[in-house]
């Protein structure tokens, strides 16, 4: 059984077809990339998996369980974390607090013990902090630990967002254009991290990406979408060589 199975997924915005009978599956432990021109339905797919949108039809199974039956805040509890194309961080909070919010689903103590800050609450806080520090070390964010997000440069925010997603210890990580807004060096770092996240943390990664260098560097399999339909599926080399994909990117004449 695949980790994530998408069956005949359909999505429309008014008359616009965002996804048309999309079928695909993501295997445990792979890095699966979705490419496609703007408006191909890539982010829409992520937003359906996060349950921000209700699809018109079809189903998404995660470990055999239909995701569409759950509300959006229950998705991370299943082990699915994500980042956003345009960064959605908690601007008024520090980097550390953002990491700790990533730990939100791991909280154990009840409200009353928080109110009194009982030893159990204190122990849990310390454990969460420990985990948050580990992740900040992993992503080299220590220097920004106590800074507010609003004061950070874009590139750092992007990595903080990745860190926040990692803090929840996901089994499936959805990365929406992790390289957008990053310079060449930062993009190279990102490629290493994506590999490390899979190899060291054992997460399966579903990626939406435009930067073909990054796509080639990290992906096990690539799915090309155009206007909500699957064009090609295969290794990065196969998909880049595909004629239909080239046409979608460059226009009918190519």
């Amino acid at each position: 059984m695949s980790l994530l199975e998408i069956e005949k997924l359909e999505m429309r915005f008014g008359g616009l077809i965002a996804l048309k009978e999309l079928d695909c599956s993501v295997e445990e432990g792979e890095i699966f990339t979705i490419i496609g021109p703007n408006g191909a339905g890539k982010s829409t797919l992520f937003n359906i998996i996060s349950r921000f949108y209700d699809p018109f039809g079809g189903a998404i199974f995660y470990r055999g369980e239909n995701l569409l039956r759950r509300p959006s805040h229950a998705i991370p509890r299943l082990g699915i974390a994500r980042t956003f194309q345009n960064i959605e961080l908690f601007e008024g909070a520090t980097v550390l607090e953002n990491m700790l919010l990533g730990r939100h689903i791991r909280r154990q103590t009840g409200f009353l013990s928080e109110l009194l800050f009982l030893p159990s609450a204190r122990r849990e806080e310390e454990a969460h902090r420990h985990k948050a520090e580990e992740i900040m070390d992993f992503l080299k964010l220590e220097a920004y630990r106590d800074q507010r997000i609003a004061n950070l440069p874009y590139g750092v925010r992007k990595i903080v967002e990745l860190g926040r997603a990692l803090a929840s210890e996901p089994k499936l990580l959805l990365l929406d254009e992790p390289s957008s807004g990053l310079n060449a060096e930062e993009t190279r770092d990102m490629a290493f991290w994506i590999h490390d996240i899979r190899d060291l943390l054992g997460a399966t990664i579903l990626l939406v990406e435009h930067d073909m260098t990054l796509v080639r560097a990290v992906s096990d399999r690539v799915l090309a979408l155009n206007q909500g339909r699957a064009l090609a599926l295969g290794s990065p080399a196969e998909v880049s060589a595909d004629k239909a994909v080239a046409r979608a990117y460059l226009g009918e004449d190519a």
């Binding site: 982010s43 937003n47 921000f52 209700d54 699809p55 569409l68 956003f84 194309q85 345009n86 959605e88």
Partner: protein, 332 residues
């Protein structure tokens, strides 16, 4: 895919509409079947019409609130106090200077327009781009301040006044009901104002630009529309509408420095109409006015005062997007 709660709320909503329609029509049906006499029906119609008239005033205040909300995404809690200032301006031109009603009204509304511009420039402009909460607080503060200012102005003060109008003390016979011309005038003038506003937004360049700003500030800015100046104009327009509302409210309420609290009835009206819809605000105002009349007719004393708020809570829970509103979702 809709959840069962959505379907449940939709069903409740339809039930409520049916119930409301029944409430409005019941006396007519009872009269037709002979269970109610003509005098009682006449009283009911009078209540209904006066409810609609006060509803028109709510509607105009709500209209001003929605105008500002659409443009700047903040609720202007001082809208009622703009109405109060407008009413005092009318009182000044008509009552103190003794100008003819139409001329005095025109001058007062023009002055209200300028006053709105002044308010925007003084306290709102520095906060453009700040969080909504800041601006909401500033408008609350502005309301307090205006009330005190009017109270301290020589000739105005904290007493109550009336404005002589050509309609006062005249009545119209409508079936079994006797309608005050004041009420009729409010309803007719509100309709005229709505028509004028419609023409303004649909046909004039400034009106179209205002709509563009409401839709998308950034896009409007890129199209070369001076967004900030339009905000100022929208405040002026909104204050002018409040001025008209104050002028119309004056003969049925009294002119005094506390009359701005009508804003607390206009806000439910604006929400009922979806908060971002101008026609919605009008209909919302009428609904609130009529609902109050119905509560006064059917229910014991006291319910009339809370009808607007009860209605607001029901609509917020059952159909939070308002009667005409649609829900939106941020794109991520």
């Amino acid at each position: 895919m809709t959840s069962w709660t959505d379907r449940l709320f939709a069903a409740i909503w339809r039930g409520l509409i049916l119930f409301a329609a029944l409430g409005v029509l019941a006396p007519f049906l009872l009269y037709a079947t002979g269970a109610m006499d003509a005098m009682r029906l006449g009283f009911y119609i009078q209540q209904l019409v006066s409810g609609a008239a006060i509803g028109c005033v709510y509607a105009m205040v709500a209209l001003g609130i929605v105008l500002i909300y659409k443009a700047t995404e903040t609720i202007n809690f001082a809208q009622g106090d703009l109405l109060m200032v407008g009413a005092f301006l009318s009182f000044t031109t008509i009552g103190i200077f003794g100008l003819p009603y139409a001329l005095g009204a025109l001058l007062a509304v023009a002055a209200a327009f300028l006053f709105g511009i002044l308010c925007e420039r003084a306290v709102i402009r520095p906060l453009v781009g700040e969080p909504a909460f800041s601006i909401v607080m500033v408008t609350i503060g502005l309301g307090f301040f205006l009330r005190a200012l009017v109270g301290l102005t020589p000739g105005w003060g904290t007493d109550t006044f009336t404005i002589p109008t050509p309609f006062t003390d005249h009545t119209v016979q409508l079936g079994p009901a006797i309608i005050s011309q004041n009420h009729a005038a409010i309803i007719l003038l509100t309709m005229a104002l709505c028509g004028a506003l419609y023409l303004f937004f649909a046909k004039t360049k400034i009106g179209v630009a205002m709509q563009a700003v409401s839709e998308n500030q950034l896009a409007a800015h890129y199209m070369g529309i001076p967004v900030k100046n339009l905000f100022t104009l929208i405040w002026g327009l909104s204050a002018a509408v409040a001025g008209v509302a104050g002028l119309l409210l004056a003969p049925i309420a009294f002119v005094h420095s506390q009359m701005g609290f009508i804003v607390f009835k206009a806000l439910p009206a604006a929400v009922l109409g979806g908060f971002a819809s101008l026609p919605g605000a009008i209909v919302g105002g009428l609904i609130v006015g009529i609902a109050e009349a119905l509560a006064g007719f059917y229910l014991p004393q006291g319910f009339k005062d809370v009808a607007a708020y009860a209605l607001l809570l029901i609509v917020l829970i059952v159909k939070p997007e308002g009667i005409f509103g649609e829900s939106g979702m941020k794109k991520v």
